[in-house]
């Protein structure tokens, strides 16, 4: 029997060969077949190898969801490189911070990205490749045009990859001093994708309408599950106009749709799903935070023929850790299900023992999908990886049948919509304002987004600090979703005797 492909690149090559004329990706500009995508992959691979890429080199990308994104991502892998896909909403300071931290030798960036010029001017030590740009538009002395890359030979040599080789670094926060880069091997990603493919029963006949960014692990897993099975990705890059999304779902007769709780809350609040022909919609997946059972009820009522998969995961686990089969939705209301195949999960108490049913403890996971660690940060790695187990920081309990129920988080990360946000990043930026004495940032409950960002600011004595000044500074330096929704000025922050800020008193 033929052995299973060792990496997602091998899987992609097999599916591209078997489904050469099938649709791989439809983005706002093009409909790209597997043959065309495969050619782009080879050209990116050829360009990188001819430019001196060594196996294991990091290549960063700031590219919106598109066929080009997929071509570059798989091209980097095909050349033996490590992908560092960055948040496309990030500002230049974060982009350069991550590029520097990962020692990336190349940065692929969308030609029309608003931070492109700032990155090109301030960056050094890497080659910038303008995605979508013509020769004349290349950044002077700094850039390589997209056209140059497209003129590369499509017959790229095959680079041997092992499952233990590093495949990707995914940054989950951008604090200046300590960005957190999750390192995932080809084996990690391949194992997780295989598990997801099995429970979703995806096949080449499937197609998904995707609104989730590929640079996050949830979107990343959607990209790979589809491209390694010969299925189609229909891209819609914004939920700003929900009717447009629904119209496209109906028009393309997709079989799948994935979102975070706020995706579904938004759609259900502004769209009458019955107005659209979604008869081909076989399944919906939900991850990225707990979804209220009432919202799940509304979804299943509106789409009675569609299966809803509730899922849970972390970037540190490649993406997915658990899922609840649709058939168990009613019986196990509010549960995130059980461990996916090839993954073991335990809820452990503070003593490190397995907690009995009903008792809250920390979700710990073990399996081939668990990351190798945080890039260049042994201390942080040792805090979460112990004896081969990932300590997720998420609190949960099990019921007598072993189904998991999330109870909260042990860390102070803010979960807003699809985004996991480090309060420290925002505090660092606000602290840069001369009139700010102290600041503490917390997540404040929000019906639509789960949490929104709230900043408590202690102004310097005698200053005339305005809310707009703070938010404007944040707008200049942070991605849009990291700008505090509300700011409260207070005389002092609540602290313990040892001076630690008591954030729980601010929530």
């Amino acid at each position: 029997m033929k052995p299973a492909p060792a990496t997602l690149v091998d899987r992609f090559r097999e599916s591209a060969a078997s489904h050469a004329d099938s649709l791989a990706i439809a983005d706002s500009a093009n409909r790209v077949s597997y043959r065309q995508l495969s050619e782009l992959v080879d050209k990116v691979c050829s360009y990188l190898l001819s430019s001196g890429l060594q196996k294991g080199d990091r290549i960063a990308m700031v590219v919106a969801n598109s066929a080009e994104y997929a071509g570059i991502f798989y091209g980097i892998w095909a050349a033996g490189g490590v992908t560092v896909a960055l948040n496309t909403q990030a500002k230049a300071r974060d982009i350069l911070n991550w590029v520097g931290h990962s020692d990336a030798r190349w940065l692929f960036i969308d030609r029309d990205h608003p931070e492109r010029e700032a990155v090109a001017e301030a960056g050094s030590g890497f080659t910038l490749v303008d995605v979508g740009a013509g020769e004349a538009d290349a950044v002077k002395d700094h850039g390589v045009s997209w056209q140059t890359l497209l003129e590369c030979d499509a017959a790229a040599p095959k680079i041997e990859l092992q499952r233990s080789d590093l495949a990707s670094i995914i940054y989950t926060s951008g604090t200046t001093g300590h960005p957190k880069g999750v390192t995932l091997s080809h084996g990690n990603l391949c194992a997780n994708i295989e598990s997801i493919l099995a429970y979703l029963e995806l096949s080449a006949g499937d197609s998904i309408l995707n609104v989730l960014p590929f640079y996050y692990s949830y979107g990343n897993s959607i990209l790979h599950t589809h491209l390694t099975i010969g299925a189609a990705l229909i891209l819609e890059n914004s939920l700003l106009y929900p009717h447009r999304v629904m119209a496209k779902m109906a028009e393309e007769a997709v079989s799948g749709f994935s979102g975070v709780p706020s995706t579904f809350a938004l759609l259900l609040s502004r769209v009458n799903l019955e107005d659209y022909d979604l008869s081909k919609l076989r399944y919906i997946t939900q991850a990225g935070g707990a979804m209220a059972p009432a919202l799940a009820d509304r979804l299943t009522t509106a789409l009675p023929h569609t299966e809803l998969f509730i899922m849970y995961g972390q970037t540190e686990a490649s993406a997915r850790l658990t899922y609840l089969p649709p058939s168990m939705l009613d019986e196990k209301r509010g549960s995130i299900g059980k461990a996916i195949a090839n993954t073991t999960i335990e809820v452990r108490n503070k003593a490190g023992e397995v907690a009995p049913p009903g008792e809250t403890g920390e979700i710990c996971a073990h399996g081939d999908n668990i990351m190798q660690g945080y890039w260049k940060d042994k201390e942080k790695t040792d805090q979460v990886l112990k004896d081969g187990w990932l300590y997720t920081g998420d609190l949960a309990h099990t019921d007598s049948d072993g189904y998991l129920y999330i109870d909260g988080r042990s860390s102070d990360m803010i979960k807003s919509g699809a985004n996991r946000i480090s309060p420290k990043e925002i505090e660092e930026v606000i602290q840069e304002i001369a009139d700010v004495q102290e600041v503490a940032v917390v997540g404040s409950p929000d019906e639509l987004l789960g949490e929104v960002i709230k900043a408590y600011v202690v102004p310097k004595k005698g200053s005339d600090l305005k809310q707009m000044t703070i938010q404007h500074h944040c707008k200049q330096n942070l991605a849009i979703y990291k700008i505090p929704k509300s700011i409260e000025f207070i005389d002092e922050l609540p602290k313990t005797a040892s001076g630690k800020i008591q954030k729980f008193l601010l929530k």
Partner: protein
């Protein structure tokens, strides 16, 4: 204050956090310029409904009506006819 100025000032104050009028052109796309996200557009709709006494139907939630100051001004004028 004119409809255009009311909308422009609301966007400037709440999403660009400035009173610098040059920070926003009336034709700037809120989507392309990254000015609004999906919850921001809902807030804008609530603002328009409160401020101008109109009801924005779900089906009217399209870029042609809402994606720039100019588009909103035209949309409000049409709703008031």
């Amino acid at each position: 204050m004119s409809t255009e100025a009311t909308i422009r000032n609301y966007i400037l104050e709440n999403y660009l956090f400035t009173d610098d009028q040059s920070a926003l052109n009336s034709t700037d796309s809120f989507l392309d310029k990254g000015i609004l996200d999906s919850t921001g557009i809902l807030e804008v709709i609530y603002f328009l409904e409160d401020e101008f006494g109109i009801k924005v139907e779900d089906t009217e939630m399209v870029p042609e009506n809402l994606d720039s100051v100019d588009n909103i001004v035209s949309f409000i004028a049409k709703k008031r006819q």
